[in-house]
Symmetry: C2
Subunit: 117 residues, 2 copies
DNA sequence: ATAACAATTGAACATTTGCTCAACTATTAT
DNA sequence: ATAATAGTTGAGCAAATGTTCAATTGTTAT
């Protein structure tokens, strides 16, 4: 959480550095943001998120659909739950997962726009 | 690059799985997307990208601004170059980096929206 | 009670990742 | 030519990450 302070050169363009420096969000914001994008940065989690953006789904169905074990899926779902991207509801033995809100869909949209450019 | 095919259960809700399965993008799309989001998923790269979204900047200034060595920054810039998120122009000894296009800004916007919800 | 199945969990392991360090290239100034 | 500085690069290393495996919980059916 602490920014490193060692560097190996002097500023070349002080005006630009000062300008950007004055606008920079605090480091906590960057940590939160990095944590959010980390959830999208793994192949498996990405497919889980995309799937849930289409339909709520239980762990078992996700596992079959994505060709993984329930355990692997469950571990990833836990990460997604802890970062508040998905929520779950239990119905008997079955746990259904769905997106926590619509931001995920927005983020996907921008991502697809970029790779389809 | 090859999807695993082992899983440890049977589909429970065939209708849902079929529906989602029919809409699912091919795996290459997910790989591209994960690669894109990976660039946003690291604290340092995220700050580099944010900085460049404000102003073009040289390696040395980035290093001082972010409190890192030129080497560390240069390695990250290489990743960002290889994924086509930034481009560079050389002016004498100095190399200036800037965003390759506006998608980065869009993706940031959605990310900030989410963490500020 | 017992069996069966959905889901979760923690430890172990292999892979990936980001930084450091030292060596190197390229450009400019003396 | 030589020195100084901006930037790049590859190897090495420590930390983080994703999957597997085995054990466990919770719920339903017999």
């Amino acid at each position: 959480m602490i920014d490193k302070v060692s560097y190996d050169c002097e500023v070349i363009h002080q005006d630009i550095v000062d300008k950007v420096s004055g606008l920079m969000p605090e480091s906590g914001e960057f940590y939160q943001l990095a944590t959010l994008y980390k959830m999208f940065a793994d192949y498996t989690r990405l497919k889980v998120l995309w799937t849930l953006s289409v339909n709520e789904m239980c762990v078992c169905d996700l596992a079959v659909l994505l060709g993984m074990t329930k355990s692997a899926i469950s571990h990833q779902l836990k990460s997604l739950r802890l970062t508040n991207l998905v929520r779950s509801r239990k119905e008997g033995k079955v746990v259904f997962y769905s997106l926590a809100d619509d931001h995920v869909r927005d983020i996907f949209e921008k991502g697809f726009e970029h790779i389809h450019e």
